[in-house]
C-alpha cells in the first residue's frame, strides 16, 4: 500500500484549502438557498460572442493556435487596451494569451521568483496569490489594507514591507473581496516607492471594466511603471466569459518571452474557440460591458443601501462586484456570522477572514445576482439580525 502522504511534496500539503468551499457545499443541499458567494457574473456570455465561437467551430478552426495566441487576437487586445485605457502594448511581443487570468498570475510568479524571494500581497485579496507563491518556495508577505483607507494599499505600508528579498508586489485592484480601487494618485504614490528598484508589479486588473463613478487607471499608465509592470487581465468578468477560460498578460518583451516559453511547455496555447470568440468581444463588445456595468451598479447601490439601512457599516465599493460590509457590531466572527446566517436563512456569503488578514470582521457579498435574490437576501438578513439582538 502506497502512503500517498509521503509521496506528495511538503509544499502542496501546506497549502490550505480555500475557506470559501464549505459554503457552496452546504448551500447545495438547501431548499430555496440564495448564493451571494460565488464571484462569477450571473450574465450569460452575450450571443454575438458565443456566435463567433460557434462560427469558428463551423469553419473547422479546431487546431492549436500560435503559442502566444492568435495574432489577430493579440492585435485586438492591443487596440482594446489603447481605446479603453490608453495603454500602449504591441500586439506581437508584449502580449501573451493565457488560460484565464489565473494562468497569467502563475506564469508571472514562476518566471520571477527564486526560492526565498518575497512577494508583497495586499490583504484581504483573492485567495490564489499566496499559494501560488508558496509552491515556488517564495514567501508571501501579506500587507493588511484597512477599511479607513478604503482598502487601498498605501505607500507607507508598501515601503515598510519591502526587504532586500522583495521581488514583486501584487496589485489586485479593483479588489476582490473589498471592491476597493486605486486611483491615479494612489498609484502615483506606490510608483514613488518602486521607481529605481527592481521590484516588479504584478497588476491583476481582471475587474478593470467594473468601476463605478470613475474610470480605471492601470499601474502601466503611471510614468516609468510600464517597464516594471506585468499586467494581468482576461475576459471572464468584463464579458461574462468565465467558462471560456481566457485571459492575457502584457509586459516588457523579455518577460513576456519567458512567460511564453513556459506557457508553451505547460499549456501549448489557450483554447482556439475561445480566442475567436474573444476577438468578437473586444471588437464589438463595448456596449455589452456598459450594459452589464450599469446593471451591476444599480445592484451595488441597492445592496450597500440595504446593509446600511439594517445597521451594518459598509464602505462604498467602487469596483468589481462585491460588497464588504462590516459585521463587527453583531459580536460574531466573520465565520460564525456566515455559518449562522447560512444555517438560519439559507443565504451564502463568505467570511472576510477567508481572504486573509484584514478580512476578519467583514463578509463578502457578491451582487452578481438577480435583484429578486438580492431583495430576498436582504429581507432574510433583517430577520437574521433581529434574532441576534
Amino acid at each position: 500500500m502506497i502512503d500517498y502522504e509521503k509521496i506528495l511534496c511538503g509544499r502542496i500539503k501546506q497549502v490550505k484549502p480555500s475557506g470559501i468551499r464549505k459554503y457552496f457545499d452546504l448551500l447545495q443541499g438547501m431548499e430555496g438557498g440564495i448564493s451571494l458567494g460565488i464571484g462569477e457574473p450571473d450574465f450569460i456570455t452575450p450571443w454575438h460572442i458565443r456566435d463567433a465561437g460557434i462560427y469558428s467551430l463551423e469553419k473547422g478552426f479546431t487546431k492549436y493556435s500560435p503559442n502566444a495566441g492568435l495574432s489577430d487576437l493579440r492585435k485586438a487586445i492591443s487596440r482594446y487596451l489603447k481605446r479603453r485605457f490608453d495603454l500602449d502594448y504591441e500586439g506581437i511581443g508584449q502580449i501573451l494569451v493565457t488560460v484565464g487570468g489565473s494562468e497569467g498570475l502563475d506564469l508571472a510568479f514562476r518566471c520571477l521568483l527564486e526560492p526565498g524571494d518575497e512577494v508583497i500581497i495586499p490583504s484581504p485579496s483573492f485567495v490564489c496569490y499566496g499559494p501560488l507563491v508558496s509552491m515556488l518556495h517564495g514567501v508571501p508577505v501579506l500587507v493588511e489594507t484597512k477599511a479607513e483607507d478604503e482598502f487601498r494599499l498605501t505607500a507607507e505600508e508598501l515601503k515598510a514591507a519591502i526587504t532586500p528579498r522583495t521581488r514583486a508586489v501584487v496589485l489586485p485592484f479593483p479588489n476582490n473581496p473589498t471592491g476597493g480601487i486605486m486611483g491615479r494618485e494612489d498609484l502615483e504614490a506606490i510608483a514613488g516607492v518602486l521607481r529605481g528598484t527592481d521590484i516588479m508589479v504584478i497588476s491583476d486588473e481582471i475587474y478593470c471594466e467594473l468601476t463605478y463613478g470613475q474610470h480605471h487607471v492601470s499601474m502601466a499608465n503611471i510614468p516609468d511603471m510600464v517597464e516594471r509592470t506585468i499586467l494581468v487581465n482576461g475576459f471572464s468578468k468584463a464579458y461574462s466569459m468565465t467558462g471560456w477560460r481566457l485571459g492575457y498578460v502584457c509586459g516588457p518583451k523579455p518577460i513576456i518571452a519567458a512567460m511564453t516559453k513556459l506557457h508553451q511547455f505547460a499549456i501549448m496555447c489557450a483554447p482556439t474557440t475561445s480566442q475567436y470568440a474573444a476577438i468578437e468581444a473586444l471588437d464589438n463588445g463595448d456596449r455589452d460591458i456598459e450594459a452589464m456595468k450599469e446593471e451591476y451598479d444599480g445592484r451595488r447601490r441597492f445592496l450597500v443601501d440595504g446593509f446600511r439601512r439594517l445597521g451594518l457599516e459598509c464602505f462604498e465599493p467602487r469596483g468589481a462586484f462585491y460588497t464588504f460590509p462590516c459585521i463587527k457590531s453583531t459580536g460574531l466572527t466573520s465565520e460564525e456570522f456566515c455559518d449562522q446566517f447560512l444555517a438560519a436563512e439559507h443565504v451564502a456569503v463568505i467570511p472576510g477572514a477567508a481572504f486573509g488578514p484584514g478580512g476578519e470582521g467583514f463578509v463578502r457579498a457578491c451582487y452578481a445576482a438577480s435583484m429578486k435574490d438580492l431583495g430576498e437576501a436582504l429581507e432574510r438578513l433583517e430577520r437574521f439580525l433581529a434574532t441576534l439582538k
Binding site: P17, S18, I20, R21, F24, I38, E40, T242, G243, G298, R299, R301, F302, L303, D305, G306, M371, L374, G375
Partner: protein
C-alpha cells in the same frame, strides 16, 4: 428626465421591482421613484403593468392572428379615425400603423379559429374604409417582450471547489 428614462427602462423589463430596488437601480430616492411613477402614470407614459403569459402551457384554448389591413384613409382624419374603429373591439390586442405594402397590423386573440375568422369576416372587413385583409395565424410564440417562451436550460455543473 434621464432618470425617468432609466426608471421606465427598469419598469419595462420588470414591473415587480420594489420601490427600494428601483431607487437603487435608477440612483434616485424612494420618494422620488414614487413621485415619478405617479406622474408617469398620470401622463399615460406608463399605460399599465402586465404579466407575459404562456397560455400554451395552460388548459385555456388560445389563437392569435396577425392581420394585415389595407384601408382608404379619410380626408381630415387620416388613419386615426379608422384606427379607433378597429381598436375599440375587445378582440384587438395590438394595432399598429405601418409603412409599406399595407396600412395596419392588427393583432387579435380569440379562443378558437372560428372566433378569429368571425371577427375578420364580420367586423373588420365590413368597416367601410377597409379595402383588404390578409390573416396570418401565429403557430408558436418563441419570444415576446425580450422573454423567451421555452424554458432555458441551465448549465448543470457549476463552480465547485474540489
Amino acid at each position: 428626465m434621464e432618470q425617468n428614462t432609466k426608471l421606465l427602462q427598469l419598469l419595462e423589463s420588470d414591473c415587480t421591482l420594489t420601490t427600494d430596488q428601483l431607487a437603487a437601480m435608477a440612483n434616485m430616492t424612494a420618494a422620488e421613484v414614487e413621485a415619478a411613477k405617479k406622474e408617469l402614470e398620470k401622463q399615460r407614459i406608463i399605460l399599465g403593468y402586465q404579466a407575459v403569459v404562456d397560455w400554451d402551457q395552460t388548459q385555456r384554448e388560445n389563437v392569435t392572428a396577425l392581420i394585415e389591413v389595407k384601408v382608404t384613409p379619410q380626408r381630415g382624419d387620416g388613419f386615426d379615425r379608422i384606427a379607433e374603429r378597429i381598436y375599440q373591439y375587445d378582440e384587438v390586442e395590438s394595432l399598429y400603423l405601418m409603412s409599406g405594402a399595407f396600412d395596419f397590423t392588427v393583432i387579435i386573440s380569440g379562443r378558437t379559429l372560428k372566433e378569429v375568422a368571425h371577427f375578420v369576416g364580420e367586423k373588420l372587413s365590413t368597416i367601410d374604409e377597409v379595402t383588404g385583409t390578409a390573416t396570418h395565424f401565429i403557430l408558436r410564440k418563441y419570444k415576446e417582450n425580450h422573454l423567451v417562451f421555452e424554458r432555458q436550460e441551465e448549465q448543470q455543473e457549476r463552480f465547485v471547489l474540489e
